[in-house]
C-alpha cells in the first residue's frame, strides 16, 4: 500500500504548474489577451498532454495535469480533448482534434470544430456550432451540430471506466481551481491592512482560510485514490470511488472559493477580482458530469 506520487509524477506536476503559471491568466484582464491565449495554446499542444491516455499514461497523470491547469485557470482546452482522446483510444479510431459533448452541448470547445458524445453505449461525432453562454470564463461550451456520425460502441466495462475518468478529471480541475483561489486569498490576507495590521492576523479571517487548507488536504487524499482506481480497480468500484471524490471535492471547492471571495471583502465581489473566475470554473466543473449525494453507493466492501 503506497499512496505517494512517483518521482515522474512529481515532475509532471511541476511541469504542468510551470506552464500554467507562465502562460495562464494572471488577472481578469488577461482573459482577453488573444496573444497570450495563442501562446498558451501552442505550448499546451506541444506538451502532448491532451493525448496522455493514448500515450499510455494513467488516470493519475491525467488528474495531475488537470489539477494544475485548473489551479492556473488554463483557458485553452484540456479536459475535453483528453476525454475525447480516451474515447478514441478505447474505440481504436482516429478522429482528429476534438473535444467531448454532453447532451447537445460541446464542452471545452475553444478553437475546436468537432466533438465526441457518448449516448448509451454509442460514441458519435458531430460538428461544433455557436458558442453557448455559460458561467465559466476560461472555457467555452458550444452547440453540438447534427448530423452525428457513429464511431463505435463501448463495452460496459470500458464505458464505466471512461465515466470514472470523466468524474476524476473534472474533479481534479475543480480542486485545482479552488487551490488557486485559496492561494490568492491567503496572499491578500497577508497584504491587506485594516485597523493597522494585516487582516490575516485576525482569527475571524485566518480561521476560514485554515479550514480551506484542511479541506484541500482531504480533497487531495480522496481524489488521488479515485484517480488511481480508474485503471486499477474493477470498473464499478472505480465509478464509486470517483463519485465519492467528486461529491467531497465539489463541496469543499465551493466553500474554499466562497471564503476567498469573502476574504477580499468588497473587492472580492467585483468583476476585476480574479477569485470569481476560480469560483465559476469550480461551478462549471461540478456541473459537468455532476454527482448527487444520493447516488453514492453506501454498500461497504
Amino acid at each position: 500500500m503506497d499512496a505517494r506520487l512517483t518521482s515522474e509524477q512529481l515532475h509532471l506536476r511541476d511541469a504542468a504548474a510551470r506552464l500554467a503559471g507562465h502562460l495562464g491568466p494572471g488577472s481578469v484582464h488577461d482573459l482577453d489577451d488573444a496573444d497570450r491565449i495563442a501562446r498558451l495554446e501552442k505550448a499546451v499542444e506541444a506538451t502532448g498532454w491532451r493525448a496522455l491516455r493514448s500515450d499510455g499514461a494513467s488516470a493519475v497523470e491525467a488528474a495531475i495535469v488537470a489539477e494544475e491547469f485548473g489551479r492556473g485557470l488554463v483557458d485553452v482546452p484540456f479536459a475535453g480533448p483528453l476525454l475525447a482522446d480516451d474515447l478514441r483510444r478505447r474505440l481504436g479510431v482516429d478522429a482528429g482534434p476534438c473535444t467531448i459533448a454532453v447532451g447537445a452541448e460541446a464542452t471545452d470547445a475553444r478553437g475546436l470544430r468537432r466533438a465526441l458524445v457518448v449516448r448509451h453505449n454509442q460514441v458519435l461525432a458531430g460538428g461544433i456550432g455557436e458558442v453557448v453562454p455559460g458561467a465559466d470564463l476560461t472555457r467555452r461550451n458550444a452547440e453540438l451540430l447534427d448530423p452525428l456520425e457513429p464511431l463505435g460502441e463501448l463495452p460496459p466495462d470500458s464505458l464505466e471506466r471512461w465515466s470514472a475518468l470523466a468524474l476524476v478529471v473534472t474533479c481534479a480541475d475543480l480542486l485545482g481551481a479552488a487551490r488557486g483561489a485559496q492561494a490568492v486569498a491567503v496572499d491578500y490576507a497577508r497584504l491587506r491592512q485594516q485597523y493597522g495590521r494585516a487582516i490575516g492576523t485576525y482569527q475571524a479571517v485566518s480561521h476560514p482560510l485554515a479550514e480551506g487548507r484542511a479541506l484541500i488536504e482531504g480533497s487531495v487524499s480522496v481524489l488521488r485514490h479515485a484517480a488511481w482506481a480508474v485503471d486499477e480497480l474493477p470498473a464499478a468500484e472505480a465509478v464509486r470511488a470517483a463519485r465519492i471524490a467528486k461529491v467531497y471535492c465539489a463541496r469543499a471547492a465551493r466553500t474554499i472559493c466562497e471564503t476567498a471571495v469573502q476574504v477580499h471583502g468588497g473587492i472580492g465581489n467585483t468583476w476585476e477580482c480574479i477569485v470569481h473566475v476560480h469560483l465559476r470554473r469550480v461551478l462549471a466543473s461540478t456541473d459537468l458530469f455532476p454527482v448527487r449525494l444520493e447516488e453514492i453507493d453506501l454498500g461497504f466492501s
Binding site: 500500500m1 503506497d2 499512496a3 505517494r4 506520487l5 512517483t6 509524477q9 493519475v60 491567503v186 490576507a189 497577508r190 494585516a198 490575516g200 492576523t201 482569527q203 485566518s206 480561521h207 482560510l209 485554515a210 479550514e211 487548507r213 484542511a214 488536504e217 482531504g218 480533497s219 487531495v220 487524499s221 480522496v222 488521488r224 485514490h225 488511481w228 482506481a229 486499477e232 465519492i244 461529491v247 467531497y248 449525494l293 444520493e294 453514492i296 453506501l298 454498500g299 461497504f300
Partner: protein, 354 residues
C-alpha cells in the same frame, strides 16, 4: 503508487481477519481487548521490537484499522502518543521500564496535562513538582484526565522552575497513581458517562527522580510531541471507529438514506483515504509537524458529521445513538480545540502571523 496490499500486507490482513472472526462478535472490554490484540501480535505494529512492538511500516496500522471497522470490532487502544512522548524524550532506562507495559497493556496510563486554569493555554499550568532529596513532591489539580480511575501511571506535566519563562519551567514525570497523595474525582460528561474523564488532585504526591522524563525544563517539548500525535487520526485509529458507526447506521437506515448519513459516509471514506496518504508519506520519513492540525480538523468534521447522522437515524429516542452524537461534540475540544488547530494552521502553514 499502488493502493492495493502487497503480498505481505495481504497475508497480514488475512491473518488478522481470521483472528477477528474467532470472536464471533463478542468483544472483550477495553483492557482485555488491548492485551488480546498484543498477545496475538496485532498491536504496536510500527513500534520497536525491544519494547514489545512489531517493527512494521506504519501502513500496517491502516490495515488493522480497516479490518477492525469491517468486523465492527472495538478500535485499537489509543496509547500511541504516550509511546511517542516517552520514546522520544525518556532515557533508555525509563523506556525499558515503562514502554513494554504500556504497549502490551499490562499497565494502564493516563495523561496529566490540562488544569482548571490551563486549557488551551497549557503553558500557564501551575501544578508544581519540587525536588526533595531523591524524589519530587507534586501538588496541583489536573482535569480532563482520560481513564484516570483505572490508570496505574500518569504522565504528568508540572512546573519545576517557577522563576523560568513559562514554557521553560515545565518538566514531565511518570507518577504512580497508587499512592496516598492522589485523589480521583470522576467527571460526568453530557452524555451521562462518568468513566472516561476525571479530575486528579495531587496533594504531596511523589515521584522518584529517575521517573523524570527527559531533562528538567524539557516538559514543553514533550507536551508538543504528545499533542502533535494526539491530533493525528492515523495515530488514533479513529477512522475505524467512525467506519464502524457508519456501517451500523447504514444497516439501520433502510432504503431511504438521510442526506446526513450519506455525507457522513463520504467524509468517513475521505478520512480513511487521507490516513492512507499520511501513513504512506511516513515511508519518506516525513516528520510530524503542524500538518497534524489539518488532520485533527478533518477528523473532527468527520466525527461530528457522523454524530449528525446518528441523530438523523435514531432521533433522541435511541440512547446509544444520542450518546454518540453528544460525545461527538467533544472532538472539537479534546486534544486541542478546533480554534487552536486553526491558529496553528494559520500561523505555521499559511504564514498569516499571529
Amino acid at each position: 503508487m499502488d493502493f492495493r496490499d502487497s503480498a505481505e500486507e495481504a497475508a497480514f490482513r488475512g491473518r488478522f481477519r481470521g483472528w477477528l472472526g474467532e470472536f464471533a462478535d463478542r468483544w472483550p472490554g477495553q483492557a482485555q481487548w488491548h492485551r488480546a490484540l498484543h498477545t496475538a501480535g496485532f498491536f504496536g505494529l510500527s513500534w520497536p521490537r525491544e519494547y514489545g512492538g512489531q517493527a512494521l511500516p506504519s501502513v500496517y496500522d491502516v490495515i488493522l484499522d480497516e479490518e477492525l471497522a469491517r468486523a465492527l470490532a472495538p478500535p485499537r487502544p489509543s496509547v500511541g502518543y504516550l509511546v511517542q512522548g516517552i520514546g522520544r524524550h525518556g532515557g533508555e532506562d525509563l523506556r525499558r521500564r515503562f514502554l513494554p507495559g504500556l504497549i502490551d497493556g499490562t499497565e494502564r496510563w493516563c495523561q496529566g496535562f490540562s488544569e482548571p486554569g490551563a486549557g488551551s493555554d497549557l503553558a500557564s499550568l501551575t501544578t508544581s513538582a519540587t525536588r526533595d532529596g531523591d524524589h519530587y513532591v507534586i501538588n496541583g489539580h489536573k482535569i480532563w484526565t482520560s481513564y484516570s480511575d483505572v490508570a496505574d501511571w500518569c504522565l504528568l506535566l508540572a512546573r519545576t522552575d517557577p522563576a523560568a519563562p513559562r514554557h521553560r519551567g515545565l518538566t514531565a514525570f511518570v507518577v504512580s497513581m497508587h499512592q496516598a497523595g492522589i485523589e480521583q474525582r470522576p467527571l460526568r460528561m453530557m452524555n451521562g458517562v462518568t468513566t472516561e474523564f476525571g479530575q486528579v488532585l495531587f496533594d504531596a504526591a511523589t515521584a522518584p527522580v529517575e521517573q523524570m522524563v527527559g531533562a528538567p525544563g524539557e516538559g514543553w517539548a514533550l507536551a508538543m510531541t504528545i499533542v502533535g500525535h494526539e491530533r493525528e487520526p492515523a495515530e488514533l485509529g479513529y477512522s475505524a471507529r467512525y467506519g464502524k458507526l457508519v456501517r451500523d447506521l447504514v444497516s439501520r437506515a433502510g432504503p431511504a438514506v438521510p442526506a446526513e448519513l450519506a455525507w457522513a459516509a463520504v467524509q468517513t471514506e475521505m478520512l480513511r483515504l487521507h490516513v492512507r496518504r499520511r501513513l504512506s508519506e511516513r515511508l519518506d520519513g516525513v516528520a510530524h509537524g503542524p500538518e497534524g492540525s489539518l488532520d485533527k480538523l478533518l477528523m473532527t468534521w468527520v466525527e461530528q458529521s457522523v454524530g449528525h447522522a446518528a441523530l438523523a437515524i435514531g432521533g433522541t429516542r435511541d440512547p446509544d445513538l444520542l450518546g454518540a452524537y453528544l460525545y461527538s461534540r467533544a472532538q472539537s475540544v479534546m486534544g486541542g480545540t478546533s480554534q487552536i488547530q486553526k491558529n496553528i494552521i494559520a500561523s505555521r502553514i499559511l504564514g498569516l502571523g499571529a
